[in-house]
């Protein structure tokens, strides 16, 4: 069953929290992963892989650089979820 964007956001926030210790509430749609959340490229990769497992999507390495904001990741997952 397809998840809503809100559900994806919540799931993603949990993953970010686990990787970085950042409060889940901080993870909002308009936040930039690097600028606002201070997530570096390697943490981002870990988040991506955990998101793949959680949401059953494949996020190619080349795609990761396009996911600059939380909303980009949420919509990519929403559009590609299995």
């Amino acid at each position: 069953m397809a998840r809503s964007e809100q559900e994806i956001l919540e799931g993603l926030a949990e993953i970010v929290n686990e990787e970085t210790g950042l409060e889940a509430e901080e993870v909002q749609m308009d936040k930039s992963f690097t600028e606002d959340l201070d997530i570096d490229s390697l943490s981002m990769m870990t988040i991506v892989v955990n998101a793949e497992d959680k949401f059953g999507v494949r996020i190619p390495d080349d795609e990761v650089k396009n996911l600059t904001h939380v909303k980009d990741a949420v919509s990519y997952i929403a559009n590609n979820q299995g």
């Binding site: 490229s41 390697l42 981002m44 990769m45 870990t46 991506v48 892989v49 390495d61 990761v64």
Partner: protein, 343 residues
């Protein structure tokens, strides 16, 4: 640990033999007359001293991998095997023009062989026999069932056309052998050795490091970069952590032990973040010490695991006789993991 666990290992040896041979000679035939454009000699002189009448030279755009591919396909066909049945590739060459990645994994990809053990071997003109010896041991002991051995050189890339002593000697070509399980011994014991004190008898004229000061400066002006290592950090990180953790666990399982039997985890010291993430992905028991030599040594590639293990033993962080899980991974991309008893 009160009782030390025993590592699994095959107890019986199999036989191995060469199942098929293949070869590839480049199309272009180079006569002694052509060689003589650049050296002061004669056809007769060359024939008298070398017996060489013609040699084959690869096209400029033809690589060692291209030649190896053609030879391998023929060897596999003659062995009656599909590329997919190969589980290890040993490529003996000294003219693959990159120090890394090796040519063998690139050949594997060309042939559509998925995830074989794949490495290059540097033993010059003895390389093929060295590789056959290793392939024989691998098949006999059970670390591989079918090994593709390739000897390939594009010597023309490293030949000085003006050197009277060598210009007429070298040619380009590839030969391949498929070594597999046999009902009888097909490869006898290898007698091998080396005489390092004569290393200068056949050598490259200059080493890369001798050339670097001049070439790097000239290259910069010409917009050509020194062939330094580069990597895609994020891609490597992802592969190293999330694909290598399962490999490490497989090695533990294959050794017939469990992670709690380990007295150390010694991953290749690639990056502390990779180590941290790998430890997490492995769900390693907290009592297993993890090598973190990278903090003071950096990433030393193939040297990193023995360096890190030595430090752990020297500093008493790991115990002599205990079991260590070690895993190496890098450009190729290639990887290998095993459990070893620490000396």
């Amino acid at each position: 640990m009160s009782t030390s666990p025993t590592l699994s290992a095959p107890t019986t040896l199999r036989h191995a033999r060469i199942l098929g041979l293949g070869g590839y000679r480049p199309e272009r035939v180079v006569t002694n007359e052509e060689v003589l454009q650049f050296i002061d000699s004669s056809d007769e002189w060359i024939r008298q001293r070398s017996g060489i009448v013609t040699r084959r030279i690869a096209r400029e755009d033809e690589s060692v991998v291209d030649m190896a591919e053609a030879a391998s396909l023929q060897a596999l066909e003659r062995a009656g095997l599909e590329p997919g049945q190969v589980d290890a590739i040993l490529m003996a060459t000294v003219t693959h023009p990159l120090q890394t990645p090796a040519a063998a994994p690139i050949l594997a990809d060309r042939l559509g062989i998925e995830d074989p053990a794949a490495m290059d071997l540097s033993a010059a003109c003895a390389g093929y026999c060295y590789a056959i010896s290793l392939a024989n041991d691998m098949v006999r002991a059970g670390s591989a069932d079918t090994v593709l051995v390739v000897g390939v050189e594009k010597l023309s890339d490293f030949t000085d056309k003006h050197d009277r002593g060598s210009a007429f000697i070298f040619g380009d070509g590839a030969g391949a052998a498929v070594v597999g399980v046999s009902d009888r011994p097909g490869i006898g014991p290898t007698v091998w050795g080396s005489l390092g004190e004569r290393a200068d008898a056949i050598t490259q004229r200059e080493s890369w490091t001798d050339l670097r000061p001049d070439m790097e400066a000239a290259g910069r002006e010409a917009g050509i970069a020194w062939p330094a290592f580069v990597m895609q950090g994020q891609t490597v990180f992802r592969w190293a952590v999330f694909s290598m953790a399962p490999v490490a666990l497989q090695a533990v399982e294959a050794a017939g032990i469990t992670p709690s039997d380990l007295g150390a985890f010694v991953p290749h010291q690639a990056n502390m973040r990779i180590t941290d993430a790998m430890v997490k992905a492995l769900e390693l028991p907290a009592h297993v010490p993890v090598a973190r030599d990278i903090a003071e040594t950096g990433n030393t590639s193939a040297a990193s695991i023995p360096l890190a293990m030595s430090r752990m033993l020297d500093e008493g962080e790991a115990q002599h006789g205990a079991l260590a899980l070690q895993i190496g991974f890098g450009a190729g991309l290639v990887y290998a993991a095993q459990v070893v008893e620490m000396p």
